[in-house]
Symmetry: C2
């Protein structure tokens, strides 16, 4: 039964059990159900498969044991080498590299091929591979080849590679490299997944960050990792609890592996467990459920953003396309954003017109790109608060939003206070001059919706001492690891879609280094020749001691000065609280890039970034410079450009 009720943790609510013994699969499932678990992990080592792997053999007789639906939802298979005598803990203890003989290596592929075939025949969702810690580096290519072969033909079968979360950095590096060998050789296939094995001790939380960007599908917690409290009930150390909760949020399913049951279970726990349910495993399921139910509930904003997590959206092109009513509707709900704009206008009015309107002239405020009017409303609120009467021009090129503005004008009885102008701000002819020009043309990367070009065009009718709100904006980049997004982008297949930046609520990702400033724009721009092209090379340094990892692209943010110290930001360090109008932007790399240990030369990530323009369009180009030199992404804007 589910561990608890949550909408945000996908399948994490269904936990599994890897029993120490199982006489037949049907009873095994029944027992698991009684205790609370939703699926069982059982060996695939069937005598009649002819693999030659010695017993114990599987508790599955044939596919007739269960209905096909049950095979798919209630059973995952365990590949033989996981429990066979040639692999396992003994072997790891003996030194890793020396495991097994030549004959085992030559037979490994054959065994996996037969067991993958058998699992696929049964309709299982996944096969759990042996722990990489129990296998040598030399065996990895053989495992990877078998996995790759299975991925070619077994349409639905997933492979979960067991990787221990190691305490020791050297050991972590070796495990990570073995995992990397399997997934890289099988070309980052989206059915190749991680089964993290949590041992008795865990490394520091920062050393666990690496897994957030990786495709973790399940977490195996051996019974031996549990401690027992005064009453004899099993509990996990604080570090385990926190990490499991992080994993739950990522939708990771937990599997309890019964490796030492009964050895240390306290008398009370046994009593409690055996009384109603008659199975000591019940208390482990109850503990997981307790952990799961104890997680903080998502905030209102988080709940609203659930469906957008790691969901790729093409950036808006409000200049080229006319936005739709529903898009305006969503953005207008962001009260924080408009309150911040109101504050900026309020401060500017007070600064420029300290005693109210000067000399009888009514101050002129222009909203350029008025949309359906939210900035007009915010400006009028600011005017009222500042007690400075203003005349407002609302300039909007979208012929449909123009109809809404006319309707609103009537409804709000704006009369002469507000004039609606159906014009592109770059081409409007007026003799009026604005004291304050307000706009909301920023994209997730600041200038990416062409705010610089639009405001340069509009500053003709800004008074000489006029103020632009915003006054400036700056973009930021950070290198990230995100298997999830990499898979999404690869699935798009076309080059054009694989070198486009995407707006995305980054969720399952790891920040590899601190973000750095990229491009900055100031308004008004009084330079003789305005040049909005830019070029920067950024050098990121991963924190000292970082282990190996993988780079999939760069996250982009912006920070904007609306007016003096009134800021608007989506940069993580300075994010305006409770503002949800912008998700970060993601600049993908076509190929994942392996990063070695930071202390071993793998700490630097460098990237070149251009903002380029031609007569009718503006675009970004970028190229990884370190640790590898990659070809230019999006040269000449071949795949993506914002149209002027």
């Amino acid at each position: 039964m589910p561990l608890g009720k949550r909408a945000d943790c996908k399948n994490a609510k269904y936990a599994g059990i890897w029993p120490s013994r199982c006489a037949n699969v049907c009873d095994g499932i029944q027992e698991a159900f009684q205790v609370g678990f939703d699926f069982v992990a059982v060996s695939l080592n069937h005598e009649k498969l002819g693999t030659g792997v010695p017993g114990p053999h599987t508790c599955i007789r044939s596919d007739l044991d269960l209905q096909s639906q049950s095979w798919t939802s209630q059973v995952v298979g365990i590949a033989s080498a996981a429990s066979g005598p040639a692999g396992g803990e003994d072997c790891m203890g003996a030194g890793g590299h020396e495991c097994g003989g030549e004959s085992r290596r030559s037979e490994l592929s054959a065994v996996l091929e037969k067991e993958f075939g058998w699992a696929s025949y049964l309709g299982l969702q996944a096969v759990i591979l042996p722990s990489v810690a129990s296998q040598s580096e030399e065996e990895m290519p053989l495992v990877a080849q078998a996995v790759s072969q299975a991925m070619m033909s077994k349409t639905f079968l997933q492979v979960w590679v067991q990787v221990p979360v190691a305490l020791d950095r050297g050991e972590h590096g070796r495990n990570y490299d073995k995992w990397h060998c399997i997934r890289a050789l099988s070309n980052y296939h989206q059915q190749v997944r991680l089964a993290l094995v949590l041992g008795e001790d865990l490394p520091e939380p920062s050393d666990l960050d690496v897994w957030t960007g990786e495709p973790v599908r399940s977490a195996i917690v051996p019974v031996s990792a549990f401690k027992f409290n005064a009453k004899g009930y099993p509990t996990l150390p604080k570090g385990h609890q926190n990490f499991l909760r992080r994993l739950f949020r990522m939708g990771v399913q937990v599997i309890v592996r019964d490796d030492a049951l009964g050895h240390r279970l306290g008398a009370d726990a046994i009593k409690s467990a055996q009384d109603p349910e008659n199975n000591p495993l019940r208390v482990y399921w109850e503990y997981l459920s307790f952990l799961f139910r104890g997680m903080e509930q998502p905030t209102e904003n988080e709940a609203a953003e659930l469906d957008y997590r790691d969901y790729l959206q093409s950036p808006l092109q409000p200049l080229q396309d006319h936005l739709e009513s529903a898009t305006y509707e969503v953005f207008e709900r962001d009260q924080t954003k408009y309150t911040t704009y109101e504050e900026a206008v309020y401060r500017a009015l007070l600064d420029k017109f300290p005693g109210g309107a000067s000399g009888g002239r009514t101050p002129v405020l222009m909203v350029v790109g008025a949309g359906r009017g939210p900035l007009v409303l915010a400006s009028l609120r600011a005017s009222k608060r500042a007690k400075v009467g203003i005349k407002v021009y609302a300039v909007e090129k979208n012929p449909n939003a123009y109809i809404t503005l006319l309707h609103l004008h009537q409804k709000e009885k704006w009369g002469d206070t507000v004039t609606i102008v159906h014009q592109d701000m770059r081409h409007w002819n007026t003799t009026e001059r604005a004291d304050i020009m307000v706009s909301e043309l920023l994209g997730s990367f600041g200038d990416n919706e062409l705010s610089p070009e639009c405001l340069d065009g509009a500053q003709r009718f800004l008074a000489e001492d006029g103020v632009s709100i915003p006054q400036s904006y700056t973009s930021y980049l950070a290198p990230i690891s995100t298997s999830k997004l990499h898979e999404e982008i690869r699935n798009l297949k076309e080059l054009k879609l694989m070198e486009t930046p995407y707006v995305v609520k980054l969720f399952a990702h790891t920040l590899l280094a601190e973000n750095q400033e990229v491009f900055r724009f100031d308004h008004p721009n009084r330079a003789e020749v305005v040049d909005n092209e830019r070029f920067r090379t950024l050098h990121f340094e991963r924190p000292a001691g970082s282990g190996p990892g993988i780079l999939h692209g760069f996250a982009g943010y912006f920070e904007s000065v609306l007016y003096k110290d009134v800021l608007l930001s989506i940069r993580p360090e300075t994010h305006t609280p409770n503002m949800f109008s912008w998700f970060p932007i993601f600049f993908p790399l076509a190929r994942p890039v392996y990063l070695g240990c930071a202390d071993d030369g793998g700490g630097r990530i460098s990237v070149h970034v251009w903002r380029r323009s031609a007569r009718h369009k503006v675009w970004y180009e970028y190229a990884l410079a370190s640790p590898e030199v990659h070809p230019l992404v999006n040269p000449e804007g071949r795949s993506y450009a914002a149209e002027l």
Copy 2:
């Protein structure tokens, strides 16, 4: 509210109303809801759009009238030219071609562009275009260009082109050609859809078949098409009823157009309508609901196949791939198929061993490709009925199904009666000779799963006077029109996937001519040199009087003689009743081909078909020869081949 409860008619249960007048859209929707309808069609002609189209203007003031969700689900827009004074019925009456002046033609594109933009801004699901009957041939390219342009940028907006279902063949031809102009110029875009307009009279059912293969999205029934019964209630003629039910089954949504309300409504109907609901439109909705609810329920087989309608499946390759447990499970449910096999074995046993086993020798029956054993079970049943004891060999190459057979052997206590052989039938060495060799290796196109090659390999151990069940099988082809499948296949984008045959439960399609025999195979094949390659040119003749249409590819079927007059068939004319193991196969054409009227040279469709083979594979090639010569599809099996 829905017209009725049906799982098989998609959105057809939601009907719409196109009111004669509407003061404001919000009230219009409320009225429609009260009467029973789920959405309204309203004009898009907004004064402030600046199209210059004269009134009456739309009842929509701005997007603020409704929530964005309501715009999407409860309103469809009507493009101006549909109701403007320059178009409409008057114009059609005046002769079609002469409609409007030069200025109207030059402004048509601009009006459509603005109204499409406005509809998209509001978030409407669809815009209904003017009837093609009200527009001239010369205007069609302008409409098509505007539609095509909208499809480039308006991601979700559909365009529903009004096409009257004409009684007169000449008129039908002209309407069809205008519709074809729009959809062909907009490159068969999947958001370009038909809104069929049903007039007072309808043509013969056979003349309505053409629409089943077309992308019909809605059906507009003007109030003037209704007749009134003795009590004054509106009803539709029998032909309309039948056609509407066909359309309902295709998921088509009906829109009642209020063009003449109250003119002829009977007193009782008015009373009934006005009593509880106070709106005379209620009786029309009730009539639609009556029609909808009166449809025959799908049979059990039809219900089970719902999800497979027009769903493309790659043909199985049981020789190359090992089938999965769940696949066997599905096929084994087809009792009709195995009863038919049982009958064939029974007849063969009686024929060959009329007095029971002869001379003390137990007759030998081999099941080649035994899977999980259903033919073994059927053969044993036949043996019991015929009172002829047999020795059975079950030969199966799939190592996983082999495990199932061993399990079954034990469970069924087969003992010495059945021997399980884990071998590929082409390579098994045995001195035993089969009196009867039973196999189920047929695909939807008969030989496409390589039954000929497998049985040729297995006939080594068929006794000289042995019988093969099946004795022979023949494939059949028919040209079909199916916009739905064409769109599905185009969406696959890759050439490889666009010239592959697919197994598919053909649903929304039109058969353009009778099927013809293609390839035949007999077993055993005692020819000195066995040649399983084939070539045929097929000439199909569309029925005399057929109007214009469109060809998307060919449907394939098979017919098999299991033993003497015991047949197994999926050819429509001879389909074995209640058998569901095989859907037809579909051979697609990359480009749709326009067909002129049959009486005007557009009656013949010719195609060349090859069955070809190389050392390790077998594949089909085909090419349209008439009415156009197309390049060869799948030359050298570059995109699809069955592996030996």
